[in-house]
């Protein structure tokens, strides 16, 4: 009997792949989901509720160097080659991918952001709304024009020092600077019954992995929903090593996978969705020279980058600091910078994620001068009264940032390793200097003092966000300058679709996951429409 040809194979089960899988199954298609990792068990494979001292010996014996059982323990190492200014590339091989270790920050891009895209905000907004309902997003309605409100569950309030920053931002606005200070929005249900997951219990372990599965992940929401349709086959611990192409190279016919035991299999399909992450999708395409008549695969790479400024607010001294856990560190953010009045010294804009409070497992301030009881008292006081401001800036798209393949180094399966090239441009440095100056000013306007600051941005003290890469297979109408069309379909291969953030044609300062999910959902529906019309 001939082997079954699936309607669609989706490669990668992270935010984009997970939602595409659900949307395709829900539209009646038979789908195969290929994931290189295994299924992790929240609470067992990762659990931040344990005792650092009691677990320490077991952790060390297991080869870990840090005290808590975190999902990030399982991130890949030695899986890429970095070139330039200390690039990093996060990769978690597990069902759900990096949706397991995201912070949950869920922000809509706004009309101003989409002005640089070939599709508008109104086109994506319905998918934002659907995604927010499924994800269970909690937040406050702030009325910002370029970070529109969504369908929110009740928001979670700020801590005391964050409110002091808010006072500083209000005074900054009084000096005619465009700025807003708002609560963070997270895919973490603050109210029971809204989504079929546990309500958040505010333990603050979000990024380390939510051990009660309250945080939205592909593994706990869309993939189980897709399974319920009876139309999904999941291939775990299966790494795609090759896209199977038709003899004329015009169509994708499936993928070749290698399982954990080394055995190989070909999975055939009528359409293929790659959702392996910005770097890994580019790697797979480059390895076979696919969908790259434009030469743009791997180009237009961008992410967010930043640095941290910390302030102290003596006004909040003596507050109740017995439980600052909440929603992980960041409960607030500086937004709205340079949305209308563009900066003169750099291109783009930034947001600043802000946090505060005493978090013994990851204290924000770990050093004070001296020793003994006075040193302990000083250190506690600083942690109680501090607020941290973490820049998230748009990295300028330029020829200095791209992904290609290492000509020599290969992984265990013989695939060439991706090289991530990052060289900060002068505009990036100028933006970071602006952030430093602005954060210091906000702290002082809020009645605080600057505790620590880089003072001046350098290529050495900037930190790239390893999980926010986008842009290596960008969307566009012109096949000479873009990789996919407005549906997410490759210009060069009619039944090859991209379902991750590599298709972003431009990148604002906002966190990418919600837009990744909304776009992938939209792509999957377009794909399903083609299937219904017999166009696959």
């Amino acid at each position: 009997m001939a082997k079954e040809i699936l309607d669609v194979v989706v490669v990668g089960s992270g935010p984009g792949g997970g939602i595409a899988t659900y949307a395709l199954c829900q539209q009646g298609l038979k789908v195969g989901l290929v994931e290189a990792g295994r299924r992790m068990i929240p609470g067992k494979d990762y659990n931040g509720h344990g005792s650092a001292h009691k677990d320490w010996e077991k952790r060390l014996a297991a080869g870990f160097k840090t005290p808590h059982w975190k999902v990030t323990d399982y991130q890949e190492k030695d899986h890429f080659v970095g070139v330039g200014d200390n690039p990093r590339h996060g990769l978690l091989k597990a069902l759900g991918g990096r949706s397991l270790c995201w912070a949950g920050h869920t922000l809509r891009f706004g009309p101003g952001d989409f002005a640089q895209w070939p599709i508008g905000y109104d086109e994506v907004a319905p998918y934002y709304a659907r995604a927010e309902r499924m994800m269970g997003v909690s937040g406050f309605r702030d009325g910002l024009w370029n970070m529109p409100d969504g369908e929110f569950l009740p928001g979670v309030p700020m801590r005391c020092s964050e409110r002091m920053l808010g006072k500083g931002v209000a005074k900054l606005r009084g000096k005619h600077r465009e700025a807003a200070f708002v609560g963070i929005r997270k895919a973490m249900p603050s109210k029971g019954g809204a989504v079929p997951r546990a309500t958040c219990h505010f333990c603050g372990h979000c990024m380390a992995g939510c051990e009660v599965d309250s945080k939205y992940t592909s593994a706990n929401t869309p993939i189980p929903m897709a399974m319920k349709t009876g139309r999904l086959t999941v291939f775990l611990q299966s790494t795609v090593v090759r896209v199977l192409m038709s003899k004329d190279g015009a169509r994708a016919e499936g993928v070749e996978i290698v399982r954990a035991d080394g055995s190989r299999e070909e999975i055939r399909c009528k359409a293929l969705v790659l959702a392996c992450s910005t770097v890994e999708t580019a790697r797979l395409l480059l390895a076979q020279g696919l969908a790259n008549s434009s030469g743009q695969v791997g180009r237009n790479l961008t992410s967010h980058f930043g640095l941290t400024v910390v302030g102290l607010f003596p006004q909040v001294r003596g507050r109740d600091a017995s439980n600052d856990d909440g929603w992980d560190y960041y409960h607030s953010m500086l937004s709205g910078m340079y949305w209308r009045d563009k900066a003169k010294k750099f291109e783009g804009t930034y947001q600043v994620q802000c946090g505060a409070g005493v978090h013994p497992k990851k204290m924000a301030i770990k050093w004070a001068p001296g020793f003994g009881e006075s040193m302990k008292a000083q250190l506690k006081d600083w942690n109680v009264t501090h607020a941290g401001m973490n820049m998230q800036g748009m990295l300028l798209v330029s020829k200095n940032k791209f992904v290609d393949l290492d000509p020599v180094k290969r992984d265990a399966l013989g695939m060439p390793l991706p090289r991530v090239h990052l060289h900060y441009d002068d505009s990036d440095l100028a933006m970071a200097d602006d952030v430093i100056e602005t954060c210091e000013e906000i702290i002082q306007l809020g009645g605080g003092t600057v505790h620590s600051s880089p003072g001046k941005a350098t290529r050495e003290n900037l930190v790239i966000d390893s999980n926010h890469w986008v842009g290596t297979a960008r969307m566009g109408t012109d096949k000479k300058t873009s990789v996919v069309d407005l549906e997410g379909r490759c210009h060069d291969v009619a039944n090859l679709f991209i379902g991750d953030a590599s298709v972003f044609p431009a990148y604002p300062e906002k966190n990418p996951t919600l837009t990744n999910i909304a776009l992938s959902w939209r792509m999957a529906e377009r794909l399903a429409g083609r299937a219904r019309r017999g166009e696959l």
Binding site: H53, E57, S190, S322, W327, F371, G372
Partner: protein, 139 residues
């Protein structure tokens, strides 16, 4: 049946064998425990040196730096105030060790139940039905 004196002696014996150092010698461990307690009072009760020594035995931290530093301390103790005065520009082995031990001790103490409770006043890590945020007014 143990009498009181035997019971106390047994307790002391059990405490002594409760942890056998893995990276440092018993003498080094004892001296390090004394040094760390001066740096971070409460560290001994929180078994901070056990945490540090286990880490050192598994490549967390520089075991040779600890051995050198503890050796210097055992050979000639100096007032902690003197060491602290040169903290930002240490010139001697013991001054360098002051910084190394202090960073490790703060980390380990903050991670201990005793440090969290007695020093930081932390009562988190529990299930809340709502997070109150800041409930106080500040100027």
């Amino acid at each position: 049946m143990l009498d009181r004196r035997e019971f106390v002696s047994l307790g002391a014996l059990l405490a002594a064998v409760d942890y056998v150092p893995r990276a440092l010698t018993a003498a080094e461990f004892g001296a390090a425990e004394e040094f760390v307690e001066l740096l971070v009072p409460g560290a001994k009760g929180a078994r901070v040196m056990r945490y540090i020594d286990l880490g050192l035995a598994h490549g967390v931290g520089d075991v040779e730096a600890w051995k050198r530093g503890v050796g210097e301390w055992m050979n000639g103790k100096r007032p902690m105030g003197e060491l602290a005065a040169n903290e930002l520009s240490p010139g001697t082995e013991l001054e360098r060790f002051f910084g190394v031990a202090k960073r490790a001790a703060i980390e380990a103490y903050a991670l201990s139940e005793e440090g969290q409770r007695d020093w930081l006043g932390y009562r988190g890590g529990v299930h809340l039905t709502a997070f109150p945020g800041c409930t106080e007014e500040h100027g």
